[in-house]
């Protein structure tokens, strides 16, 4: 019960953050792929950098047990192909799974249409799973991380990702200021 209260509370904050920055607005999201609107990249990079640095420092200061965190398992080919198919869908609907809910909640019928499609998509995979399963389980690499692949210390990878992320945000800001 307590878990579900946390789930609801986290969900409310998540939905609030996405709506207040305009990520329930399909032309705004699609605008990222035409380099007209950089909200998607700005929000994703700022959020990822904040969480990455927060996790790193909370672990370093002993406030968070990093071993207890769930690191997604890597499956090279399914995630590469999945990402390509997903990107095509993203630019078609101008929404992703989370933001489709935000779009519906702010009164946009495209949100409901995208949610319907998402439901059909996962239903298709589930029904066709016996045929898809060999590919789904191919090229497993376990909970692989960038620090494991590169052999660099965790702190160095965090610093490098921060440098690349902040540079990208600064480049976007400079580009927008020049227009």
């Amino acid at each position: 019960m307590n878990d579900l209260l946390v789930a609801a509370g986290i969900g409310v904050a998540f939905g609030w953050a996405l709506e207040c920055v305009g990520l329930g607005d399909p032309p705004k999201l699609a605008g990222q792929f035409y380099l007209r609107d950089f909200t998607v990249l700005k929000v994703m990079l700022s959020a990822m950098l904040t969480a990455m640095l927060g996790i790193f420092w909370a672990g370093r200061l002993g406030m968070l047990d990093l071993g207890a965190l769930y690191v997604p398992e890597t499956y090279l080919l399914p995630q590469l192909v999945g990402g390509l198919v997903f990107g095509l869908g993203f630019v078609l609907s101008g929404l992703c799974p989370g933001t489709s809910c935000v779009a519906l909640a702010s009164g946009r019928i495209e949100g409901a249409a995208t949610m319907l499609g998402l439901f059909a998509g996962v239903l298709f995979i589930g029904l066709a799973f016996p045929a898809i399963e060999p590919f789904y389980r191919s090229t497993p690499r376990g909970p692989l991380t960038l620090q494991l692949v590169t052999g660099l210390p965790y702190g160095v990878v965090v610093a490098l990702v921060t440098a690349v992320g902040v540079s990208t945000l600064a480049w976007i800001a400079k580009r927008e200021a020049a227009r």
């Binding site: 789930a7 869908g89 995208t114 799973f129």
Partner: protein, 169 residues
Amino acid sequence: MRAPRPYADPHVAGVCLGLVLLACFALTGQGLGASGAFASVASGVVVAVSPATAVHSAYFQSYLQDGSPWTAWIVVEIIGVLVGAATSAALAGRTRLSFAQTGRPAVGRLFAAVAGGMLMGVGAALARGCTSGLALSGGALLSVGAWIFMVALFVAGFLAAPLVRRFWP
């Protein structure tokens, strides 16, 4: 009628979203998600309609092994997303605007939204996550698969954008 409030600054909102993600990791040990809720509900529908079909799919089974798929953590989280987004939009006076100004989207755009949703459903199922569950949450933990997924989705999006330009004048 009050004028709708403009959208928040993306960097500030991004940091807030990052703090929500951090709180989620600290409280539950896992990140945010979205596509999993659709998979959980789909599994619930299939097992209700045809239990034999659900048994033969390890995909549906994976969403049915930890209690009811209707009250899974991620489903409750997504109900929270709907409530939070609706409240934010209503308080900022943006809900009416979206009805009044954009009106009914063209039928072609609606078909594109359904088709895009289907592709994202397939892609997220293959990748075991979507923009929030894999790219953002896994990306923050420096997961290799999350970064592959994130790069692939932006590459495909940019490559496909010129082909679907008529939907985004």
